[in-house]
């Protein structure tokens, strides 16, 4: 295993979970299930969240692909008075009828710029969508992997990861995943919510420990 592999692994797992929360495509299951052996080679099973990630992949593989789109729509997109479990940060952290949504979105935009990231114009999701925020973490882990491989300092990039989890993804994801688990409307999304929660819970601890050992330049 090379020096950058744990960060590469985290990049891959964030990407996998992010893809799981995207609107399902025809090849959705195949792509996600096929990524597990690749992640295993990167050391997936060294980490406690692997149990949940593999469980998600297995559940997804056993799911009829035609079930996914209706389940996704019912849970994350439509419903009386809005989606059952809206997959966006602003839906969970902004109070209704206030300007909080704009504040959250502009804070996110500033954070992305600071990290050197720009959401692709081709994406249909808002910048506070769960799949985008997981992709942001994936990108930050990817940067870290490249810096490690090149023997450069990673303090700043790790600091960005801590900041993003503390101020954004880690703040609202537990509320969101708890709602998904509570509604328990489709086993695939229940398993995905568990995997997302396990990954973020683990990473917050891992990064906090790292920060204690060598404070990052946040």
């Amino acid at each position: 295993m090379s020096a950058g592999d744990p960060a590469r692994l985290r990049q891959g797992v964030y990407r996998l979970i992010g893809a799981g929360f995207a609107s399902p495509r025809a090849d959705h299951s195949d792509v996600i299930v096929a990524s597990i052996p690749v992640l295993a080679d990167l050391g997936l099973f060294d980490y406690s969240y692997s149990l949940y990630v593999v469980d998600y992949a297995r559940t997804l593989a056993a799911t009829d692909p035609r079930e996914l789109s209706p389940a996704y729509m019912a849970m994350f997109e439509v419903g009386v008075g809005g989606a059952t479990c809206p997959p966006t940060e602003s839906a969970w952290l902004a109070s209704p009828h206030s300007g909080d949504v704009a504040v959250i979105l502009s804070e996110l935009q500033r954070s992305y710029l600071r990290y050197g990231l720009r959401p692709s114009d081709s994406r249909s999701e808002t910048i506070d969508h769960v799949t985008v925020e997981f992709d942001v973490m994936a990108s930050l882990c990817g940067m870290e992997a490249e810096q490690r491989a090149a023997g450069r300092l990673v303090t700043r990039t790790v600091g960005h990861q801590i900041e993003f989890l503390d101020n954004h993804l880690g703040r609202w994801l537990p509320l969101f995943t708890e709602a998904v688990l509570r509604h328990n409307s489709h086993p695939t999304y229940t398993a995905l919510a568990s995997a997302a929660h396990a990954l973020v819970t683990h990473d917050r601890e891992l990064l906090a420990m790292l920060d204690q050992l060598e404070p990052s330049s946040r």
Partner: protein, 474 residues
């Protein structure tokens, strides 16, 4: 069914038992776990602690879908005979099968002091250990309880606004919060009451000779050295209370001792706690007329004959263990009149001084076990059940009249007092509002306020004594 895999190295006696798979070089090659049958739910492995790489084993367990926190690991290094091995395996199987499962919050990376920065985010895989989580439905923090917060030796728990927050990074997973919580709301899945009790029962049942239970830290030597003491691993021996130390004696074990992680003591600095729990366990035995050398810190003497098993039903470990254990030991010696003052065991009794107590009932409201309870139909009445008191001292902390001696607590037990059951400790009349008829406040409290205000404020006092809070402004 639980699968059992043992490493054949070092010629441990008795490896070829029924239901056991022996593998050459298992300690060095955990990939053998991959040959387990599909759907294996429980696993016990026997390894030699100096040979095996725990992180690699954890990875291999996850690869076959098992949570490493629920896998039983028996250290074969100090097993010296077939009987000891059979007992250690029976205990490990029972404990493994009682594993309740762990949530992501209950898995924790090994404490930072033991992991280098390089080890965290570079090549080496981090070791996962069990961590506590708080069941908010059971937790009494909303009434003011902060027993776990006070007990935590590393300040990983904080109380704020009626809830306890937990800093996983600070936590060293010593388990002290688990045995301190008076209502069993703090749970570490690797050291639950059910699993410990199942393991001890398994050890005693399989050994076939008088057995001593050796609680040891996860860093210490694990199993029997031929002396008849069989190991039960706990995160830290600092978590052991007198009840935990004495409980095996009520289950058929002849003795119990505690072995910290190092020869010189506890790496986490919990030596005082261990010493205090052991001293209390000895005081309890002494008060009951039993030999005090049945408990100790690493007992070298041979195991004595066990006590006759008392009749019992239900679980011993869990909230209220101290009271249950003393009750069972008392039934063995057939006494109803033993008492002892103790140092740190969660057993206590509360005395209320009716001359200074204002019957405000704050003590009853904060009591996490309902040992102190108040009712206010007619008079206000505070009653006490000493069998439920866990000596947490929160009633002392909250009492507004504690400096005047309104409440006192002593740590210890008195069987005669327990036999009396719940009794009234304070009664006061509750004057009613002249306007709406609602209760105003206990009479003693109104008199106390009047004495503090003095005669120059008699108009205010008069209003306080005749009108409830809602009617005063009308």
């Amino acid at each position: 069914m639980t699968q059992i895999l043992l490493c054949s190295d070092h010629q441990t006696p008795g490896l070829g038992q029924n239901g056991v798979t022996v593998i050459d070089g298992l300690c060095y090659d955990p990939s053998a776990l991959g040959s387990l049958p599909d759907g294996t739910q429980h696993l016990v492995i026997g390894l030699h602690r100096d040979d095996a790489d725990s992180s690699r084993f954890q990875s291999s367990m996850r690869r076959i879908g098992l949570d490493p926190l629920g896998v039983g690991v028996v250290d074969l290094t100090s097993i010296t005979d077939q009987r000891a091995l059979a007992a250690a395996l029976a205990g490990a199987v029972a404990r493994t099968e009682a594993f309740p499962g762990a949530t992501p919050e209950q898995a924790k990376l090994a404490p930072a002091s033991r992991v280098s920065r390089r080890g965290l985010l570079t090549a080496a895989a981090p070791l996962s250990i069990g961590a506590p989580s708080i069941d908010t439905k059971t937790c009494q923090a909303d009434t003011g309880c902060r027993a776990c917060v006070t007990a935590c030796p590393v300040d990983a728990l904080t109380w704020k606004g009626g809830s306890v927050s937990y800093d996983k990074t600070r936590c060293v997973a010593c388990g002290i919060c688990v045995t301190t919580c008076p209502v069993g709301a703090v749970v570490n899945p690797t050291v639950t009451s059910q699993a410990i009790e199942a393991q001890i029962a398994g050890l005693i049942g399989a050994y076939g000779k008088p057995v001593g239970i050796r609680y040891h830290c996860r860093g210490a030597e694990q199993t029997s050295d031929g002396s008849g003491y069989l190991g039960v691993e706990v995160p830290c021996t600092g978590m052991l209370t007198a009840g935990w130390l004495l409980a095996p004696l009520t289950m058929g074990a002849a003795a119990a001792d505690a072995v910290p992680c190092e020869e010189w003591g506890c790496r986490l600095g919990n030596d005082d706690r261990i010493a205090s729990s052991l001293a209390d366990a000895k005081r309890i035995l002494d008060a009951l007329g039993l030999e005090t050398d049945r408990v100790g810190r690493r007992i070298d003497a041979s195991v004595p004959p066990p006590l006759p098993p008392p009749p019992r039903d239900g679980q011993i470990f869990g909230p209220g263990i101290e009271q249950r254990v003393i009750g069972l030991l008392a039934s063995i010696v057939q006494t109803h009149a033993a008492a002892a003052s103790l140092e740190s065991t969660p057993l206590g009794t509360v005395a209320i001084d009716p001359m200074t107590c204002t019957a405000c009932s704050m003590c009853a409201r904060i009591c996490p076990t309902d040992a102190l309870h108040s009712t206010s139909t007619g008079d206000i009445v505070i009653d006490l059940d000493p069998r439920l008191c866990v000596a947490c001292g929160q009633c002392l902390d909250i009492c507004p009249e504690s400096e005047r001696g309104a409440i006192a607590m002593s740590i210890g037990f008195d069987l005669a007092d327990w036999a009396m059951g719940r009794r009234e400790v304070r009664r006061d009349s509750l004057p009613r509002c002249e306007s709406c008829g609602s209760p105003i406040a206990p009479l003693a409290m109104l008199e106390r306020i009047a004495s503090m205000l003095g005669p120059e404020h008699s108009a205010v006092t008069g209003l306080l004594n005749t009108r409830c809070l809602a009617c005063r402004g009308r």
